[in-house]
Each structure stands twice: as structure tokens, then as C-alpha cells.
């Protein structure tokens, strides 16, 4: 490039620069003019308007907190609703001496020590601009008395606040859950989800159960009011208002009549029950005992009340249905039997001779059957019916832990059921890999032996057990369990219903499944371990009893429930479905320290199914006695 061309270029680029800079300068001037125009508009043209808003008045934007959506059972019975209460509230920023104000209020409205404690707690967590309740549930008289004295209390006012109510109290509390005041942790979550705008003015949020899982639906949309207020904070007029939109109404699949029967049947026992419709995964009853009263939590639970709940040995806050971990005991046997059949381990006629014990090959270690001298010749169906341990010991060894573990995992053991509730436990399905990882130890054959009868490491939740038995009832089609049936949008009136979600199809050979089902059907027939449960029923119930050890027995020590600490007694388990030919209900029950599955858990199932299938409430005691068998006290 020649020198001249170069300098020409430089000249050219400089000229171009100046021209473009001039253009930008012109644009800047236009931009400044536009801004100046905006100033004119706001400060001259709209001056009177804004002066009016500003000088004597201020605008306050008040959120309209929406009504929380209702929770209903499948029959439309209300499980959670809202009501208005008068509450006396203080806005700290408007009060010059907070302690003095509170003292002055005392003769007018009564406070308990708990009220003041709660107030101070909220005060710490809130901004001084917030209005903080110091007493809720004011009586009419108290409200009137305060109104008469209102003038001396600047920054104190009576507001009507919406309160959540659980009309049935502790009933189904683990299912419904509860709401409680929003804490720091909740605030983080609200922020993360981008819900801040919609939660302005909202002070409570779902903490457990349905209330938590469907928070986004139940909360609704916050409205607002732009209010002109004078220097004293009195509102003069509403400038602009957008109503709030009530939260969606949630209809659960739960049948509260059935739920009630189940809860009552538990009586004083601890435990859990899950009843499902195997055809669509709808949860019909969901019990965790003992329960708690969710009403205690609304508006913040009292410290002492919380202490009682939290420190109780009975753990009323534990949701046993999805979080309780229990050894499945003999309820695992139908699944183990199916595993053997599907893996072609046992062929017809499947007979073994049970001498009352099983000897582990090449070790000589023996494992006892629950029946001292054995059951004699036992086939596959019989083994389930009478819950023959010896039969399953050998079966487990032949099958091997790997195949057993893999097969059980197909039923959902060791994974969550993905029910619409937070915090579900996945349980524990042991395998050699798991043991190596967990204990850095190899798997022993003896562990396979006890795994085959549901002892050892295996842990299940009642929810998993219910899903597994529903899958058998449903011929191998595994459907995700759900508590929700429909959601009604209160703005559009549209009702959203939920489709069945198939988790997987377990393709079993029909003849194998039929064999296992036959065994389970015979369980409630005379001779079965739960003969009394099925006695006199006009429908056929397929079932399996189970007992899970809570404390390990010493060798030669005899299990005697009457001489033991109540909390050391065995857990009673029971899984069932009915009618056996075309099941519409499947249930899993665990009664903690309830002893034998057939005698404590079984009758609960019977009551449940009688109601569900026949709308009959109780089973008479006579019926129960008739078919009582020795085998009842074992399994």
C-alpha cells in the first residue's frame, strides 16, 4: 500500500469518524429532548395530578391475599377450608413506643403469655412496615371495646384475617398436612420459585402433605388495592383495585368414610394403612397413626404444644404411610413365589417336605419354621396359604439374591412410588452390591435365606407395599399412586382431571400369577393364616399376613408377647385385595407392635373392605370366632 493511499485512508477514516460522531451527537440531542419532554409532561402537564397524590396524600398499595383453595374428599366432603377472624394488629413503624402501646392495650384486649411470645417471634422475622397480629380470634366485645378506644392507639388496628381450618381435626392429618407461618427457609424457596410478588401479604404456606405438595395450586393469585391514604394512614379512596383469585379447589381420591373406618379400626394402635384402587392408582384411604391436629399449626404453633408433639415417643408427626420403614416379613412371600415361578426355579408340582426347619447346604446352619414340627408336604400354593418359612428358605437359595433382588425391584421395592406427597422414603432393597457399598462386606448365603421371608435388611414403606399388592391385583400393571382426583380452577371454572400414569408393565405368565393369586385367596379361607379375616364375607379376599420382629430373639428364647415391653412386640402386617376375581381395592396395613398380622391388621382390612364393597360397617365377633385356627397366632 502506497504512502499516499495510506494517508488518504487515514483522512477518509477520520472524516467518516467525524461524520458519524456528528450523527450520534444529533441522536444524543434528540434523546435529551425526549427526556426533557417527559419532564415537562410529568412536572408541568401532570403536576396537579401528582401533587394531589403526593402532598396531602400518599398511595399505599395493599395486597389482597387470596382465599386458599379448598381441599375436598372424593365425595365433596370438606377437609380444609377458611374462615375469617378479627385480629388485632400492630404496625411497628407507626408506633413510637411499642412496649407502652402493648401495656396500654392490655386492659382492652386480653393477651396470653403465648400471644406475646408469638408476637415477638413474628416481630423479629418481619419488616417494621408489616402489620403484625398480636391477638387473633377477637370476640365481638373485644373488637367493639377496641374500636371505642381506637384513637389513642396509632398504628394499631383490627383486621379481619383469613384462617385455615381443618374441620375434621386430627382426621387424615398426615394426608392433608397443614399450613404454618412462612419462615426464612420458606422465603428462600418462594424467592427461588419467583413467587415473591404473589406472596406479598401472605403469611402462611403449606408445610406438609397435600397442603405442601399442591401449594402452587392452593395459594391462588394475590390481588391488590392502590389506596390513597392521608398523613394519618387512613385510607381516603381506592384508586385502583384488582381482586384476588381464590386458590384452586383440590378434590382428593380419598373416601373420607373409608378413611374414618380405617382410622377408627386402628383404635389405640400405632401404624399405617394405605388403600388403593388398583385399576387407577387412586388412594382411597391413607392413615398414619397416631396423628396430630393440623389446626394447632395455623397461625404458628405454640412452643409448648410443639414440644409435646415433637418429643412424644409415639412420634405423631412421623408420616408412617410414606416414611415409616418396616421389614415386610411374610408379606414378601407372594412376590418371592412369583420370582421363583417367573425364573423357572420351581416346576409343578412344586412340592417340598417341611420338617420344621431348613438346613443351609454346606454349612449346617439351620433356620426354623414358625411351626415347630413343620407342615409336612407343602406345594407352592399351600406355602403362601400357610406361610411356610421352610419352603421359602430353600426357594430363596435356589433363586439367589441377585435374581430375587432384581425381581423385587420391578415391584417398586427400594424406590419411591412417586405419590403426590413430598418426603417419601425409598425403603431398602438389599443386594450384594448394596452390602459391599454400605458395609464393605460380602453377601452371605444366610442373608438370602432370611431375605426370602422378608427379614434381614429389607425395609418397605406401607405405601410401597400397597403399590406392590395393587400391582399383583392388577395383573402386573403398575400404576403410579395418587392422592389427587381433580383440580378446579376457581377463575375459569375448569376442572382438570388426572390420567392414570403407568409406571411399568410387568409381563408375568398368566399361569404363574394365577398360582400366586390362588395362594393369596386361600389365606382368608379356612386353613389359611387369616381364615378369621375372610370368615363370613360375601366376597373373596386375597391376602397375605406378615409379622416383623422388632427385637431379635435369643436362640431357644420363646416369643411371649404378654411378657414383653409393649414396644418390643412384633409388628403386624397385612396386605390384601378384593374382590379377588376383579379387585377394586388393594390395601397394605402395618400395626406397630400389633403381634400377628392376621389378628390385628387383618380385621382392619376386613372392616375397610366390608364398607368399600358392601357399605357394611362392622364385622360381627361371632363370625370372627367361627373359623379361628391355631395358625392364627403365627404366620
Amino acid at each position: 500500500m502506497s504512502y499516499t493511499k495510506n494517508s488518504q485512508n487515514i483522512y477518509k477514516s477520520r472524516y467518516l469518524f467525524k461524520r458519524r460522531l456528528a450523527l450520534l451527537t444529533a441522536l444524543i440531542s434528540i434523546a435529551f429532548l425526549a427526556i426533557a419532554g417527559r419532564f415537562f409532561y410529568l412536572q408541568i402537564f401532570k403536576y396537579d395530578f401528582y401533587k394531589g397524590l403526593s402532598e396531602n396524600n400518599r398511595i399505599a398499595v395493599i395486597p389482597n391475599v387470596p382465599n386458599r383453595g379448598l381441599i375436598l374428599d372424593r365425595n365433596g366432603i370438606v377437609m380444609a377450608d377458611n374462615y375469617f377472624v378479627y385480629s388485632l394488629e400492630i404496625t411497628p413503624s407507626k408506633v413510637s413506643n411499642l412496649n407502652k402501646t402493648i401495656d396500654n392495650l392490655k386492659p382492652i384486649v386480653e393477651f396470653s403469655a403465648g400471644d406475646l411470645k408469638q408476637f415477638k417471634k413474628i416481630l423479629k422475622e418481619s419488616s417494621s412496615l408489616d402489620s403484625i397480629p398480636i391477638r387473633t380470634h377477637l370476640s365481638e366485645t373485644e373488637a367493639a371495646r377496641f374500636a371505642a378506644n381506637k384513637l389513642q392507639f396509632e398504628g394499631v388496628e383490627i383486621k379481619s384475617r383469613l384462617f385455615r381450618r381443618y374441620p375434621k381435626g386430627a382426621f387424615a392429618s398426615h394426608l392433608i398436612g397443614h399450613i404454618n407461618r412462612i419462615n426464612e427457609e420458606d422465603k428462600e424457596i418462594i424467592k427461588k420459585l419467583g413467587w415473591q410478588q404473589n406472596y406479598k401479604g401472605t403469611d402462611s404456606i403449606g408445610k406438609l402433605g397435600i397442603e405442601k405438595y399442591y401449594e402452587a395450586k392452593l395459594h391462588g393469585t394475590t390481588g391488590f388495592q392502590e389506596v390513597e391514604i392521608d398523613a394519618n394512614g387512613n385510607s381516603i379512596r381506592i384508586l385502583n383495585s384488582t381482586p384476588s383469585i381464590e386458590g384452586d379447589a383440590i378434590t382428593l381420591s380419598i373416601d373420607s368414610n373409608l378413611q374414618e373406618i380405617a382410622e377408627n379400626a386402628f383404635n389405640k394402635y400405632r401404624g399405617a394403612l394405605v388403600a388403593l384402587n388398583p385399576k387407577n392408582g387412586e388412594v382411597l384411604a391413607f392413615v398414619s397413626r397416631p396423628n396430630f391436629d393440623p389446626n394447632q399449626f395455623v397461625g404458628g404453633i405454640d412452643v409448648d404444644e410443639w414440644k409435646v408433639l415433637n418429643e412424644s415417643l409415639d412420634k405423631p408427626m412421623l408420616n408412617r404411610a410414606i416414611n415409616g420403614l418396616y421389614p415386610p416379613g411374610s408379606t414378601i412371600k407372594p412376590f418371592v413365589a412369583l420370582a421363583a415361578l417367573e425364573n423357572d426355579i420351581r416346576k409343578p408340582p412344586f412340592n417340598i417336605n417341611d420338617p420344621g426347619f431348613f438346613t443351609l447346604p454346606n454349612s449346617g446352619h439351620t433356620y426354623k419354621d414358625w411351626k415347630p414340627y413343620g407342615h409336612g408336604v407343602v406345594d407352592m400354593v399351600m406355602a403362601i396359604t400357610i406361610s411356610c418359612d421352610t419352603f421359602f428358605y430353600g426357594l430363596g437359595i435356589e433363586l439367589g439374591i441377585k435374581k430375587l433382588s432384581e425381581f423385587l425391584s420391578r415391584f417398586g421395592f427400594g424406590e419411591t412410588t412417586h405419590i403426590d406427597m413430598f418426603g417419601e422414603n425409598a425403603g431398602l432393597l438389599p443386594s450384594p452390591e448394596w452390602k459391599q457399598k454400605r458395609y464393605k462386606q460380602p453377601w452371605y448365603l444366610g442373608e438370602t435365606v432370611i431375605t426370602s421371608i422378608g427379614q434381614g435388611y429389607t425395609l418397605v414403606t406401607p405405601m410401597q407395599l400397597a403399590q406392590a399388592v395393587a400391582t399383583i391385583a392388577n395383573g402386573g400393571l403398575m400404576i403410579q399412586p395418587r392422592l389427587i382426583q381433580s383440580i378446579k380452577n376457581n377463575q375459569t371454572g375448569k376442572i382438570e382431571t388426572f390420567k392414570n400414569k403407568i409406571i411399568r408393565e410387568l409381563h408375568f405368565k398368566p399361569e404363574n400369577l394365577a398360582l400366586v393369586k390362588e395362594g393369596m385367596m386361600n389365606v382368608t379361607e379356612p386353613g389359611g393364616t387369616a381364615a378369621s379375616v375372610g370368615a363370613g364375607a360375601s366376597y373373596k379376599m386375597a391376602a397375605k399376613t406378615g409379622t416383623a420382629q422388632v427385637v431379635e430373639m435369643k436362640r431357644n428364647q420363646k416369643y411371649d408377647p404378654n411378657r414383653m415391653n409393649e414396644r418390643h412386640r412384633d409388628h403386624a402386617l397385612f396386605i390384601a385385595y378384593a374382590p379377588a376375581e376383579d379387585p377394586t381395592i388393594a390395601v397394605a396395613i402395618i400395626v406397630e407392635n400389633g403381634g400377628h398380622g392376621g389378628s390385628t391388621a387383618g380385621p382392619i382390612a376386613r372392616k375397610l373392605m366390608d364398607y368399600y364393597l358392601l357399605k357394611k360397617i362392622t364385622v360381627s365377633k361371632e363370625n370372627n370366632k367361627a373359623a379361628s385356627l391355631e395358625s392364627e397366632y403365627h404366620d
Binding site: 500500500m1 495510506n6 485512508n9 487515514i10 477514516s13 477520520r14 467518516l16 469518524f17 467525524k18 458519524r20 460522531l21 450520534l24 451527537t25 444524543i28 434523546a31 435529551f32 425526549a34 427526556i35 426533557a36 417527559r38 419532564f39 415537562f40 410529568l42 412536572q43 408541568i44 401532570k46 403536576y47 395530578f49 401528582y50 401533587k51 397524590l53 403526593s54 402532598e55 400518599r58 398511595i59 398499595v61 395486597p63 413503624s93 412496615l129 424467592k191 427461588k192 419467583g194 415473591q196 410478588q197 406479598k200 394475590t222 391488590f224 392502590e226 385502583n240
Partner: protein, 365 residues
């Protein structure tokens, strides 16, 4: 003796620009005192940063522009590495990852890029001055596109867009063909739906709210409504210093930083606004004049960019406060409270003065 010392201190400092800047800073301190509810600590704090900024300005003004040119690439690369550092080791705060913890202090690398990007682009385009092809503009564009993507990702849309704007100014002033400008404009416009779907919900909200502030009177709309009331009620001559009722009450959020102009506007009215706007206009005008007098492409582009970026900040902030643009977190230069932005602005004026005072030498070198 004293006279000589003063003369030496004054050397390289453009007194015209210095008078304008100082006037704006004085206005700022008075406004800040009022906006902070007469918080003298805050004002002293700001004064400290102004002092620090003046020292840095003075030092920068003494540095010959050829050193900026030499250091352009290393500074840029260092800044870019720090940005990547933020991505991997950054500290999160308020949902954004913008800070690097360097033990002694926390830094925000995107602030460095505000200076590093224009210097690097000016360096590159001036280097290719005589043999520039279309591809050079593409390469130069990458100098700002890469950091902008990283910064928007943090997410810090405000700073990202400001750096993008400053990149565009350099391309434009360096002579980017109109065909590309128009084409790029159309391209960007057609990308709008794509960009829209990739915005965060809160960012979308801000744009929607601008169209109708009453949509969200509790959130971003609240800022706009309250600042409009503050401005509008200021009227022609304002309510007087320390007398703005809107500002003195708790109604206006972020009133010492992004929304400080609403306070100024309420207390000094339309006349005050126009005077401040005029003062800003003088600073911008002086900057652009320095740019047009600069002797080579590098200093020309750099100087012009400083003036234009300064304008962009002012425009976005005022437009946002007076409700004609969405709420983005951009401070009002020389007025808003904030140490980093204050020192960065004063350093950039130092660069401007260096360009001005060294122009003869640059021209002959």
C-alpha cells in the same frame, strides 16, 4: 514554589471537564444527603470514593495513551479469564453469580470489562486501520459478544447491554458499513421472539410492566409509580432541598442508588432537571470534542466511546426513573451512591484527559 506544584498537579488535567465533573459531584453529594435521610456517614463514604477516584483519574491522565494500547490485549484477556472464573468459582448473591472472592476483597469482573472491552476493540480496529475488511469487524465484534454472553448469563442484563452498546459505538465509529448496521438491526429485531423466550421471568415482567405499570403495583411497577409521583409533584421549581415528601418517606425504594434521580427531581423540579441535564450535556459535549480532536484512530475511538457510554448510562437511568424504559439496575453517573461505579467513571475520565493532553505527542509518533 506552591504555584509550580499546582502547575505540576494540573498538568494533563483538562480543567474544563474537571469543573463540569466536580459540579455534578457536588450536586450528587447534596442529593445523596437528602436521599439517605441526612445520613452523613453515607455521604462521607461517597466522598471517600470520590477522593480515591480523583487520585486514580489523576494517575490515569498522566499515562500516555500508547500504554493503554499496549496493555489493551493483556487487560482484556485477564478480564475475560476473571469472567470465566466467576462462572466456575463465583459467589452467588441475590440469585446472581457476579462476584469473585479474592480473599481480601470481592470484585465484580464485569466492571473491568466496561473499560477493557472498548480499549481492546479500539486497539484491534486501529491496528487493522489500513487493511480493514469486513471480517475485521466480525472479529472486533467477538471482543464484546463473548463477555456480553458471559455477563448476561450471570445474570446481569443491565451491564451486559451497556457493554454491548459500547461495543456497537466503536464498530459504528470505526466505519462499519451501513449495510451491516441495517442488516444487523433487522437480524436483531427478528431475533426478538427468541431472546424473549430466553429472558428470565422477572426480566419479562419488567418489560411488560413498563407497558402498564399498574399491572404490578407491588413489584417493579411500584418503583415506577412512586418515582413518577415524586417527579411529577416536584413541579417547576421543586419542593426544595430536603423537602421532598415522597423521598423522605419510605415510599421510594433504592433511593440512594438507582432511583436517586427521583429525589433530585422532586426537590429541584423541572428547572433543576434541565440544569442537571445541561451539565451532563456539557460533559458529554466536552468528551466528544476531545474525541474529535484526537490524533489517531485508537484514541479517537476510545475517547468517543467514553463519552457515549457516559451518555448511555444517564439516558437509561433517567428514562427508567421517569418511566419510559423498563427498570434495569443502572446507576446515575456521578450522582448515585456506589464506590465501584464512581471510581470506574472517574478512571474513564482520566483516560479521556490522557488522550486530550497527549494528543500532540500521539500525532507525531
Amino acid at each position: 514554589m506552591l504555584e509550580r506544584l499546582l502547575l505540576r498537579l494540573q498538568k494533563n488535567i483538562d480543567s474544563t471537564l474537571m469543573v463540569f465533573i466536580s459540579s455534578a459531584l457536588v450536586v450528587g453529594l447534596f442529593t445523596l444527603y437528602s436521599a439517605s435521610g441526612r445520613n452523613i456517614i453515607l455521604v462521607l463514604n461517597q466522598l471517600f470514593y470520590i477522593g480515591l477516584g480523583f487520585i486514580l483519574l489523576w494517575v490515569t491522565a498522566k499515562i500516555h495513551p500508547k500504554y493503554f494500547q499496549k496493555l489493551a490485549l493483556p487487560i482484556y484477556i485477564a478480564g475475560l479469564l476473571l469472567l470465566f472464573g466467576v462462572m466456575f468459582f463465583g459467589q452467588s448473591s441475590h440469585g446472581a453469580k457476579r462476584w469473585l472472592n479474592l480473599g481480601l476483597f470481592k470484585m465484580q469482573p464485569s466492571e473491568i470489562m466496561r473499560i477493557a472491552v472498548p480499549i481492546a476493540m479500539a486497539w484491534y480496529l486501529s491496528k487493522r486501520e489500513n487493511k480493514r475488511h469486513a471480517i475485521d469487524y466480525v472479529i472486533a465484534s467477538l471482543f464484546f459478544i463473548l463477555p456480553v454472553i458471559l455477563i448476561i448469563n450471570q445474570p446481569d442484563l443491565g451491564t451486559g447491554l451497556l457493554i454491548a452498546a459500547s461495543g456497537f459505538y466503536i464498530l459504528f465509529l470505526a466505519g462499519l458499513n451501513w449495510k451491516f448496521i441495517v442488516g444487523g438491526g433487522i437480524g436483531l429485531f427478528s431475533l426478538t421472539p427468541f431472546i424473549w423466550t430466553h429472558l428470565h421471568d422477572y426480566q419479562k415482567n419488567r418489560v411488560l410492566i413498563l407497558l402498564d405499570p399498574s399491572q404490578d403495583p407491588l413489584g417493579s411497577g411500584y418503583h415506577t409509580i412512586q418515582s413518577s409521583i415524586a417527579m411529577g409533584s416536584g413541579g417547576l421549581i421543586g419542593k426544595g432541598w430536603l423537602n421532598g415528601s415522597q423521598g423522605q418517606l419510605d415510599f421510594l425504594p433504592e433511593r440512594t442508588t438507582d432511583f436517586i434521580f427521583a429525589i433530585f427531581s422532586e426537590e429541584f423540579g423541572l428547572l433543576g432537571n434541565l440544569l442537571l441535564l445541561g451539565l451532563y450535556g456539557l460533559i458529554i459535549g466536552r468528551s466528544l470534542m476531545i474525541a474529535s480532536q484526537a490524533k489517531n484512530t485508537f484514541t479517537r475511538l476510545l475517547a468517543a466511546n467514553i463519552g457515549l457510554t457516559f451518555f448511555t448510562y444517564i439516558f437509561i437511568n433517567i428514562a427508567m426513573v421517569s418511566g419510559i424504559m423498563p427498570v434495569v439496575g443502572v446507576p446515575l453517573p456521578l450522582i448515585s451512591f456506589g464506590g465501584t461505579s464512581m471510581t470506574i467513571i472517574l478512571i474513564s475520565f482520566g483516560i479521556l484527559m490522557s488522550v486530550h493532553s497527549h494528543k500532540e505527542l500521539v500525532g507525531s509518533s
